[in-house]
Amino acid sequence: MNRGIVFGIRSLVQRLVAPVDMPLLLIAVLLILLSIGMMGSASPERLNTQLINVAVAIVVMRALAQIPPQRLMHLAVPVYLAGVLLLIAVALFGDISKGARRWLNLGFMRAQPSELMKIAMPLLLAWFFQKREAMPRLRDYGIAACLLLLPVGLIARQPDLGTSILVLAAGFYVIFFAGLSWKIMVGMAVSALAAAPLAWNFLHDYQRSRIITLFDPEKDPLGKGFHIIQSTIAIGSGGIFGKGWREGTQAQLEFIPERHTDFIFAVFSEEFGLLGNVLLLALYALLIGRGLMIAANAATLFSRLLAGAVTMIFFTYAFVNMGMVAGILPVVGVPLPLVSYGGTALVTLFSGIGILMAIHSNRMLVQK
């Protein structure tokens, strides 16, 4: 009887674990442990909430890991349409918070539909390219671009520069992996540079000032440059070995703004130094490497494109966030993936990991 129970538990565990990719999970768990450690330093009072967020996100991951990519494909169009409709609803009826219209009050909860688009966008474009029977032609890329720019435009108007960049990047990765020709990409890059002055006119004042601040933060040391100056001081003063956990003066004396969310990397970097940074970069590199491997071995075009794009989302998050905190990219509201406080981003990112796991368990069975 005892053996029966043990066997039953073991099979249950096996069934639970079966679709889970252990390397991905391990890396994610290490990052989460790091996040919990940093929360304990930067904002201990939020530790419990973040643990709940992690639990919810892991459940979502586990649920998505079980859904075969073919089923996901069916969801692509309705999820995308729902997302776009919600974004339009936000533009019309959304709540304003901190000067931006990002939230939709659904009565029982407040939702941020732009977050949904980070997954819905690559999902739809992957579906779109899967549906092309022939080699995609220029017209197909054009259509894909339109499908991408509609939600990106809506999000940028809220205004939410950070999320719109992430969604744009996520969609672009799909188009890139689908085989957009290098000539066109180079041409786009050149015309983008040429159009930059034009785009300047469409930016909000606060977005412009962020870009100005990036180039010369000391110009406004107590105003807009304050964040960047203080975070670079935190990183630089950390040195090679860091000041030690909860010993960072910049963090503990509150010189670092938003130190549990977007600027948590400054806290980490101050307390753990260059060695900590190398470890963090390595973890992200491993995560991305594992994701790209999964993409390389994915069974269908849809799976490949989706896996590649979802993986690169992690890269975008990590690079934009660390670049901004270290003062080489403008300040945009992008969290440090899996480390920053906040449930929404965590659920999105673990959804991505869940999708990667699902694609991995449905990979090509025949290996050459």
């Binding site: 022939a134 080699m135 001081i233 630089g236 003063s237 040195g239 010189f255 490497g289």
Partner: protein
């Protein structure tokens, strides 16, 4: 239409994956390079900046030195109390915040006015007191509600206090909040760092003159602060060194008796120890309460003090200038002896007037004093004797001689802003007037100089100083208020540096003649009534200074408005054989010196020499008669 080739497509996809992986590596390398730049190469710079962020040097204000009288009576001290202070730069709606505070602690319209005035004068980021001296109950009430008032704080501070209120205020002076002018002085003295936390500065009197002695050395605390500037903990502390204490030559009890002797009258008294020049009492009444200036006076009180016809803010002892009247005569007589123009026995005939250049100079005694020698000219205060003498001496001889006694010059007392007064001479007139016809000295102008009128105008401190010099047999000692300065750390006492006593080289025999005559004044002359029954021998001279010029008309006290009445003067020293005190008194619009000023001198000398305390202000002796008039 090109059909898909799955194998080729997969290859192309994998190449793209490699490109993406390459992009990731390039971007991460870029980040790594940035981290190495910040954390290795620039580490020291950022380390310093983080430390600068974290550590703030907070000055610790030293306790201000105390002021004692010569017997150790405390005249200015410090006490610890709570103030309610607002930092205007951290608040939005000041009025609303003050209204809110008024519901917790007592804030009067006066406090608001004072605060507004402080606000106008304030330096940028300092916190300003809205209420001082909170009660314990008020402190508790505010602390419980502090969260409602960002930018408002209770501060425990040491406060300057003048425990006797309106007493000796003109000599002590007061401190007030630092203004731009004070800042300049601080910079000029290279004391900027030392004053970083200091709010107050000596504004007048001894508080001003000895500011840098009294202030002390600021201490410093290394404090760890958070981004909001709040202190988290103290890392290191250098204790401040309290300011040095001043011990004065002033006798507080004598000062009190002298002030009270004036009653409600305006005037000044300066008493000096002739052997040292130490000032025993320096009275200017009415006084004011210096305590009200410390944290800013409200506009209404200021207006009242400033516009009062009694001018309580003027230090009459140093800045009031008065014609000396007949108190000038002993010095005139001494000049005559010294210059060989008169012998003591030489007599003149006084018919009651002196005619010069068609102008009649009248004597106060109708019909004159008859035959008058030097002794009687002083005892009876005979004007004609001095009209003639002045004419014989000439203005420049008079001016030179009086200059040696310090008249018409700053005495060098250790309070700033002393007035010069006017010692008339030909040169003075040339410089004083613009029009050529006014620049010339007329011989007729010398005549009234002889009786201490005309252009003559001296401060009470000058008169007291000259009297002390006379009492001290012609040896000049610089008047001073501070006897010694005590270093609070070592307890070491340092006497203030003074020029050595300077002998004027007068003949003792001449001085003795004058002293004899001045003793006569108080025994058989104009001061005799005031000094009747005194148990010591004193020397004096009454004086009456014209405020209102009589153009030949009779002077009737009743018919002249009060503020145009004569000033009453008296100079004295005692005991006459070995003077321990010399003084000069001016009672503004007091009438005759014998009536108003001499009785004050009697009370002061009685206390100083015998310890006798009067039970009422000095009487006005209506029956006393100045020989100069009637």
């Amino acid at each position: 239409m090109e059909f898909k080739n799955p194998q080729e497509e997969l290859e192309r996809f994998r190449i793209r994956l490699l490109v993406a992986g390459g992009l990731v590596l390039v971007c991460f390398s870029l980040l790594l390079a940035r981290f190495v730049w910040l954390q290795v190469i620039q580490h020291e710079y950022y380390q310093t900046r983080a430390e600068d962020n974290r550590i703030s040097l907070v000055p610790v204000v030293p306790n201000r030195g105390l002021i004692f009288d010569r017997n150790g009576v405390i005249l200015a001290n410090d006490y610890s109390a709570y103030t309610l202070e607002i930092t205007p730069s951290k608040t939005h709606d000041l009025e609303k915040i003050i209204d809110g505070l008024a519901q917790l602690v007592d804030i009067e319209p006066k406090d608001r006015k004072r605060f507004r005035k402080l606000l106008e004068e304030s330096r940028n980021f300092e916190s300003l007191p809205i209420r001082t001296r909170l009660t314990d109950e008020e402190v508790a009430k505010f602390v419980a509600n502090r969260y409602r008032f960002p930018g408002v704080d209770i501060k425990a501070r040491l406060f300057r206090q003048y425990p006797n209120g309106a007493f000796a205020s003109h000599l002590l002076g007061y401190i007030g909040r630092i203004n731009d002018r004070d800042l300049k002085k601080i910079e000029e003295a290279y004391q900027d760092a030392n004053y970083r936390g200091t709010d107050h500065f000596g504004k007048t009197g001894l508080e001003q003159r000895y500011e840098f002695e009294l202030h002390g050395l600021a201490g410093f605390e290394q404090v760890e602060v958070d981004a909001g500037g709040r202190a988290v903990r103290t890392l290191a502390r250098t204790a401040p060194v309290a300011g040095n204490n001043l011990t004065l030559t002033i006798d507080a009890e004598l000062q009190r008796i002298a002030e009270q002797a004036f009653g409600s009258r305006r005037g000044s008294l300066v008493a000096i120890e002739p052997a040292t020049g130490g000032v025993l009492a320096l009275v200017s009444v009415p006084n004011y309460d210096p305590n009200v200036f410390i944290d800013g006076i409200d506009t209404q009180d200021w207006k009242q003090l400033n516009e009062s016809p009694d001018k309580p803010m003027v230090n009459r002892a140093l800045n009031g200038t008065y014609p000396p009247g007949s108190t000038f005569k002993p010095f005139m007589a001494l000049a005559a002896l010294s210059l060989g123009k008169r012998s003591p026995e030489q007599k003149i005939v006084d018919p009651g007037f002196f005619v010069f250049g068609g102008h009649t100079f009248r004597d106060d005694k109708k019909g004159g004093h008859g035959m008058v020698d030097m002794y009687h000219s002083i005892v009876q205060s005979c004007d004609t004797y001095y009209y003639i003498l002045a004419n014989d001496l000439g203005i420049d001889n008079i001016s030179r001689f009086m200059g040696r006694f310090g008249l018409g010059q700053r005495t060098g007392i250790d309070i700033d802003g002393e007035s010069e007064g006017v010692l008339p001479s030909q040169e003075w007139k040339r410089k004083r007037f613009r029009k050529p016809e006014q620049k010339k000295w007329f011989a007729g102008e010398t005549i009234s100089i002889g009786i201490g009128q005309g252009y003559n105008s001296y401060t009470p401190i000058q008169l007291a100083h000259a009297t002390a010099t006379l009492a001290n047999n012609g040896v000049v000692n610089t008047p001073h208020l501070v006897k010694y300065i005590t270093d609070t750390k070592t307890g070491e006492r340092t006497n203030i540096s003074l020029p050595p006593g300077r002998d004027l080289g007068l003949k003792q025999q001449h001085i003795d003649e004058i002293k004899k005559a001045m003793i006569g004044v108080n025994t058989e002359g104009t001061g005799a009534r005031a000094f009747a029954g005194a148990e010591y021998v004193s020397a004096g001279k009454t004086g009456t200074a014209q405020v209102f010029s009589l153009k030949g008309a009779d002077y009737k006290k009743e018919s002249v408005r009060k503020e145009l009445r004569d000033h009453a003067l008296f100079i004295a020293f005692a005991p006459a054989e070995a003077p321990s005190i010399a003084l000069a008194i001016v009672v503004e619009n007091g009438g005759f010196g014998a009536q108003a000023a001499a009785p004050i001198a009697r009370q002061v000398l009685d206390y100083y020499l015998l310890g006798k305390r009067p039970d009422a202000p000095a009487p006005i002796d209506e029956a006393a008669v100045e020989e100069e008039r009637e």
